[in-house]
Point group: D2
């Protein structure tokens, strides 16, 4: 599906919002790609982000899925809109054991109030990408 | 509902697992209470854990909900079992703006393989607790 | 939690909407109770509503959970509002094997645009109620 | 992704199970296509399956999404396995107003115990297919 962003400076707007999220800086997440209705975020491995087996924590996997979805949706929104996550659902599919976590999300439906996204989270190990989580999210556009 | 834990040292077992999760230490989450089929986790405010409005990040809210659910379920499991989050779904209900985030989860059904939990996340502001998120999770017990 | 309905004739309004849903009549679902922010629906067993083991079909269990949530939310809405289900998530917890399926839902948060509900579905067998499914839903109020 | 079914007679096994579900017959759902890890189900419009606006009821939309997911997963399972829906999450994206409801589901991950599927539900109106719902499901394989 092809989306026409309402704000032609959507990349800059997404980048600015991403860099205002101090949690993204705290965990060293990188905004890699923003296209209309799409976003990709990378997160390098850091033992501070792990659970009891030293794999990425499920909360971190959910964070990357949720944020990729939020910025995929935000890329299409009006220049003065803000965005809220209404809800998300995440399936953890394989252990997040590897060097980099990659979240990719695309918009399924951009609506006047609500936007629906699907996200995939991959774990990279020895240059091999493996699906480790899948998510579906509802986002809300708040005018002004 | 009243649950009988299979392992009478379940509190110690939950505490040990919690303290092995380096992400819990990194964000300074506190395991406050563990009962059979119940868990409560607190997280003090820290601007490093915030989104663009300086409220707790949705990923952090999800982390606390997921971890409370995981340990509520783990409290009932066999002494040598390990636990996996299969999936969770989180509704964000109010802005997580306040001094402390509190996650409370209880087991709805403890099954041989799968356990279902419901979690509530509260934000404390000026000594007032307010529901800010609600979650439902599926956990899996792995023998041995 | 106590809710004050905006429309004092909310019971009548819920009943009318329920009886306009031809699918409820087709499966013989009964609206049993409506209170502010709460709804209970019963469904007698009928082999036409079953899956391969002759238990209630998961789609029917989801229908009862979703509809109970919808009317719990609708009970609080403005007299001229209509309602949409945005999304729901359902865990199937035990086989729905018995004489009556009971859906009970209550509102967790009634918001200006979005309302969040939790639903429990019980199966009655030999006069014994057993939890067979648990759900969390997001509903939307449409003005006018 | 390409899946190798464990049972080469998987199409026949899926068809038999589908036809044992009396609810599928009751609503006149048609099993249209079964491939390894994929299933498509059609449902012709019938006013008995509608909500208050005479569109397909959300419970029916969920039924078609859930059943397509179940049979996409079941196509890959062992010859003597049975299948359970653990949970599903459904977003309703557009009104299900039209002549035919189409559910298509594919397996994201086929695991030893749990299988994850994504489903799309389309509504056909004037020969035009439109996405009206999106779902993510967890299914469980039961040996013997």
């Amino acid at each position: 599906m092809t989306f026409i962003p309402k704000d032609k400076n959507f990349v800059k707007r997404v980048e600015e919002s991403f860099h205002q999220q101090r949690f993204m800086k705290f965990i060293n997440a990188q905004l890699i790609k923003v296209e209309p209705g799409f976003c990709e975020i990378h997160l390098p491995y850091n033992p501070d982000l792990t659970q009891q087996n030293l794999f990425f924590h499920a909360g971190i996997v959910g964070t990357i899925a949720d944020n990729a979805a939020g910025y995929a949706a935000f890329s299409l929104m009006n220049v003065d809109s803000s965005i809220l996550t209404v809800e998300f659902k995440l399936n953890l599919i394989a252990p997040a054991e590897g060097e980099t976590l990659i979240g990719r999300s695309h918009v399924l439906k951009y609506g006047r109030t609500l936007t629906i996204c699907r996200s995939d989270v991959f774990i990279v190990k020895d240059n091999n990408e493996k699906l480790c989580a899948a998510s579906q999210s509802t986002l809300m556009e708040l005018a002004g």
